[in-house]
């Protein structure tokens, strides 16, 4: 120890206190680094541990009575400790910054999101736009998001070359030239009394591919179902054909029996009653065969309607031409018969009007008859019974609309789209 006396002792004491404080702060920074997790924090922890070790070594060294030249070691020591202290302050502030949520930390973290985010005022002035949303904005409008409303309007328009716009549940979807599809959803958020616009962009490429796959599968399923329904209809006629064949076999058998009976009659004359019975059998068989020859295509539904009207004494005034589409013809016939039944049952009507209009997209059919005075209940709604509700069901199954009204006239109006569904 040199002979500087009291001054040397004071400097040493101050250095020792400073050294102890330094050691204590090292310990504090180590604990702080331990409490914070993450890869970057590991680096901070290692640095803090290094500083703590050096500080501890200095403290042990100087308190252990190591004899050192006063001015050289004891004057340089505070400088070294000051450097260590500033490093620790840096470390501490870095740790503190990582634990606090600031505008920058939010921006930094949202930039890492796989989705695009934009928060703005109602007038579109952005509060926060993450990197992904800005990137999308560049692809849509060649600039970052300057105004959220204008940006969303451009998304809605989707008229940029190379970008294909579709929509799902009212949400715009943009497919970019790289094949990726993004959905853009705009929402109004309310927070602390303030209204904020939020635009979220989500990469829905995989979802869209799955939906497309499902759509294709559903189309195939619909085709199969349609074929099944068509088959169902043809099975009905197959059953009829089978019945017909059975009947023909029966006629064939009857002819065979008649021939046998007639042949028997040649050998054994038999009585008059027997001859008459055989004659009757032949007549019946011939009548049947004559009819068999007459049978051609089944009658059109309109014939049933007009025949029935004629037989029950109701004049049908038909205006317009009957469309050729079988399902529409059948529907007109079914509606006409329903009107006829109602006209006879409720109104004792003797006349029935049918107007068919061939419009651009639809067939418009109007059926009406006069209502007898005592049956008039004023205009308004009609309670639909089994017949009318059955007809309504049929119309709706074919994709049409039916309205029923009553007053001076009882009226059914049917609007049937052209190319609507066929009967099931």
């Amino acid at each position: 120890m040199s002979g500087l006396g009291d001054f040397g002792t004071i400097v040493q004491s101050v250095d020792l206190i400073f050294m102890f404080l330094n050691w204590a702060t090292s310990l504090f920074v180590v604990i702080g680094a331990l409490l914070v997790r993450g890869k970057r924090m590991m680096r901070d922890l290692l640095m803090a541990l290094l500083l703590f070790t050096v500080d501890s070594w200095f403290l042990l060294l100087f308190t252990g009575g190591v004899d050192m030249d006063f001015p050289k070691a004891w004057v340089l020591m505070p400088i070294a400790l000051a450097v260590f202290m500033s490093m620790k302050i840096d470390l501490y502030t870095a740790q503190s910054r990582n634990q606090e949520i600031s505008r920058f930390s939010i921006q930094e973290s949202t930039n890492k999101f796989p989705i695009g985010l934009c928060f703005s005022r109602l007038d579109g002035h952005p509060y926060l736009v993450n990197a992904r949303m800005d990137e999308l904005s560049y692809r849509i409008a060649d600039q970052p998001v300057m105004n959220a409303n204008e940006f969303f309007a451009q998304v809605q328009a989707g008229n940029r070359e190379g970008i294909c716009r579709t929509e799902r549940d009212g949400i715009p979807l943009l497919r970019f030239p790289d094949g990726r599809t993004w959905s853009f959803q705009k929402e109004l958020l309310k927070t602390d009394g303030e209204e904020i616009l939020q635009i979220v962009a989500i990469d829905t490429t995989e979802l869209e591919l799955l939906l497309e796959k499902r759509r294709n599968e559903n189309r195939k399923l619909e085709e199969i179902n349609h074929r099944l329904q068509e088959y169902g209809k043809s099975v009905e006629s197959l059953a009829t054909a089978k019945e017909w064949l059975d009947t023909k076999m029966r006629i064939h058998d009857t002819i065979g029996q008649n021939l046998m009976a007639t042949k028997y009659l040649f050998y054994d004359k038999g009585d008059e009653a027997r001859r008459e019975a055989i004659r009757e059998n032949w007549k019946r068989t011939v009548r049947m065969l004559q009819h068999d020859e007459d049978v051609t295509e089944p009658d059109d539904g309109m014939k049933y309607f007009l025949d029935a009207a004629r037989k029950v004494g109701v004049a049908v005034h038909l205006d317009g031409s009957i469309p050729k589409t079988p399902s529409v013809r059948e529907l007109i016939a079914a509606s006409g018969i329903q009107m006829l039944t109602n006209a006879v049952r409720h109104a004792d009507a003797r006349e029935l009007w049918v107007i068919i209009e061939d419009e651009l997209m639809n067939y418009r059919m109007l059926f009406y008859n006069e209502v007898k005075k005592e049956a008039k209940v004023g205009s308004g709604n009609v309670v639909e019974g089994g017949g009318l509700s059955g007809l309504r069901k049929k119309v709706e199954e074919l994709g049409g609309i039916m309205t029923v009204s009553s007053g001076e006239y009882f009226q059914i109006e049917i609007i049937m789209p052209k190319g609507g569904r066929d009967y099931v």
């Binding site: 399923l221 199969i224 179902n225 349609h226 099944l228 329904q229 088959y231 169902g232 099975v235 009905e236 197959l238 059953a239 009829t240 089978k242 019945e243 017909w244 059975d246 009947t247 023909k248 076999m249 029966r250 058998d253 019946r284 009548r287 049947m288 009819h291 068999d292 049978v295 089944p298 009658d299 539904g301 049933y304 309607f305 025949d307 029935a308 037989k311 029950v312 004494g313 059948e330 016939a333 079914a334 018969i337 329903q338 006829l340 039944t341 006879v344 049952r345 089994g386 017949g387 059955g390 049929k394 009967y423 099931v424």
Partner: protein, 207 residues
């Protein structure tokens, strides 16, 4: 003499019925039509005593529905349902609707006239059960009532979800019934099952 109305869309079968009716002195053929949809209007204007009603008629009109409606409005008119389809629900629906008699068409037997006579005498004649029909490895009697309900909806070509909604069942239950029918019939797909059901006539939809 009883006035008879025939409702039958198949011309050959209708002609047979007409011949049978006209050949018997007790009956008079008043009306012969193809579609059940016009039957009610004729009942209003003609004095009909007996109707021979087919189930599947022209214009996709259900003879069963028409018969039930006519029975409500004109209870004095006797009705005999005639069909060749083995659909098991027809008998039950006809009974519930108050239809007088039920006959499965058989061109090789002449029983109908006897049934007509007995029906007009006030008797109600119904077969004990619907004819047994084969469907793959199973016969129609092997299916439960619920399975037949599901099968009836299955032939519409609709999805399990739609069928479940119509029958007020869960999709899981529908799948369970379909699986059970696969096991019974030996079918491996729904389409195969539906086609078999349609061909066999065990279930008929929309009638």
């Amino acid at each position: 003499m009883y006035n008879v109305m025939i409702v039958e869309d198949d011309p050959m079968a209708r002609r047979l019925l007409e011949i049978m009716v006209t050949s018997d002195e007790s009956y008079h053929l008043a009306v012969s039509v193809e579609s059940a949809s016009v039957a009610e209007v004729y009942c209003m204007t003609e004095a009909i005593d007996l109707i021979l009603m087919d189930v599947c008629t022209a214009l996709h009109a259900s003879g069963l529905d028409a018969a039930i409606k006519i029975k409500k409005r004109f209870p004095q008119i006797r009705i005999i349902i005639i069909t060749s389809l083995p659909e098991c629900s027809f008998i039950e629906r006809a009974r519930e609707g108050g239809v007088d008699s039920f006959w499965y068409k058989d061109p090789f037997e002449n029983k109908l006239l006897d049934i007509m006579n007995r029906t007009m005498m006030g008797e109600s004649i119904y077969p004990d059960q619907s004819p047994t029909s084969n469907m793959g490895l199973a016969t129609s009697s092997e299916f439960t009532e619920r399975e037949l309900d599901v099968l009836r909806e299955l032939i519409s070509g609709d999805t399990d979800e739609m069928i479940a909604e119509r029958l007020n069942l869960s999709v899981h239950t529908i799948k369970k019934h379909v699986k059970s029918m696969f096991q019974k019939t030996g079918c491996t797909t729904r389409t195969q099952l539906a086609v078999m059901a349609l061909e066999s006539g065990i279930v008929v939809r929309g009638i």
